[in-house]
Amino acid sequence: MIIAWLAHIMIGIGIVFFIAGTVGLLRFPDIYSRLHALTKADNIGLGFVVIGLAMLSGSLAITVKLFVIWILIIIASATSCYLIARSALRMKIQPKESR
């Protein structure tokens, strides 16, 4: 019972991070800070959701699979973030100066 509560709290925290990342994507001024918002916040958010789901699953096999998914997504999103930023730099897109 307590575990279920904890799990829901974890998933809730994860969702907050996802929302923060999405707000960042919509509100931030340039591609570099948007990438920052998306990849960082969503990876943490996904981590909390994975922890919550693992607690709810009650099975070691599913827990391991969930964490493997998380690690794969962290690697993939870090790589694609880097590649997008690199190609943006190549296209000479300037970071927007802060006011």
Binding site: L72, I75, A76, T79, Y82, L83, R86, S87, M91
Partner: protein, 329 residues
């Protein structure tokens, strides 16, 4: 799926809204991005309809691969030679009659579809019961695989034949002679290289798992082939040189393996009592696995060639009269 949840209604509304956004967008690039997004949500809808097999194919082929092909075509249209050809062709019909003809055709087609829905037999409960009854003869435990590779094997054979025709079309479109070798990106990325070093084995393993899983769970040749194609496409983008040329004897075998293998199995099982593609029950499992294994390789090769042709990775023999647009350099 017994009752529709609030989430399903939301999904349905978002799907219609996204479709409308996609169609009314004036910018082709925005349309394509919305198309990819739409494909992802459609695959979510398939998950909600408890059809994970279709969801996988929709996500990988319907959304990702088609999206890449669209992006490649857009790059071609916006490149000089593509625009030139487009303006040559637009003299065929002026804008207004062309739009009228399209409107007429689309509304006729839509009308036929609506009419068909009202003609459907209301009491028909589907073929699930028949499939469930025949599962013990199919050689596999997953009903989708049983239907695709056994009960309607003829359709699947023709589908794999269509994929073979696609390869011919790519070679016909992109060069007069066999084409080969990718154009490596100007500067190779070391991060991508490490990423590939880490993940290629995992993705190849996953592809084989999907192939094997097809026997008892969602998966099979199309999903495994798409996964394998994804790995090879990443390697191409990362600067690995892959000889896709039809001059390469091995590639020729790979392109036709799926169709030829399927056809051969279909013919070999013919005996006095059995028809074309009617596998003997005791060896059905192994025959299906063999067909799927060969088909996986052919599908992967076809998808990679399709991507390479569209994204400008294929070098024509005469670049001056066959310029291809695509990836920005």
């Amino acid at each position: 799926m017994t009752t529709a949840t609030a989430f399903d209604y939301l999904l349905a509304v978002v799907l219609i809204f996204l479709t409308w956004m996609m169609l009314r967008s004036r910018d082709l690039f925005t349309s394509i991005v919305l198309f990819i997004l739409l494909g992802m949500l459609i695959s979510l809808a398939w998950v909600e309809l408890q059809a994970p097999d279709v969801a996988l194919v929709e996500a990988v082929i319907g959304s990702a691969l088609t999206g890449v092909l669209f992006l490649g075509s857009l790059g071609y249209i916006e490149s000089g030679s593509g625009r030139q050809r487009a303006s040559d062709r637009s003299s065929f019909l002026s804008r207004q009659p062309r739009e009228l003809i399209f409107t007429f055709l689309v509304s006729m087609f839509g009308g036929i579809l609506c009419w068909t829905i009202f003609q459907l037999d209301q009491t028909f409960t589907g073929l699930s019961a028949h499939v469930a009854g025949e599962m013990s003869h199919s050689g596999v435990k997953n009903s989708v695989t049983a239907v695709i590779l056994n009960f309607r094997g003829y359709d699947t054979l023709l589908e794999i034949g269509v994929l073979l025709l696609v390869v011919f079309a790519i070679f016909a479109l992109h060069a007069t002679q066999p084409i080969s070798l990718n154009r490596a990106l100007p500067k190779k990325s070391r991060v991508l290289a490490v990423f590939l070093y880490l993940l290629t084995p995992v993705m190849v393993l996953m592809a084989f798992y999907l192939l094997w899983a097809g026997g008892h769970a969602p998966g099979g040749a199309f999903q495994a082939g798409a996964m394998l194609a994804g790995v090879i496409i990443l390697m191409l983008v990362g600067g690995t040189t892959v000889d896709l040329s039809a001059r390469n004897a091995l590639m020729r075998i790979i392109y036709i393996a799926g169709f030829a293998g399927f056809l051969l199995v279909g013919i070999l099982v013919v005996q006095n009592q059995r028809n074309f593609l009617q596998y003997p029950v005791e060896s059905a499992k192994h025959l299906i696995l063999a067909i799927e294994g060969l088909a996986t390789i052919s599908i992967a090769a076809t998808l990679v060639t399709l991507f390479a042709g569209c994204a400008g990775f294929l070098i024509p023999d005469h670049p001056e009269d066959c310029e291809i647009g695509g990836t920005s350099t």
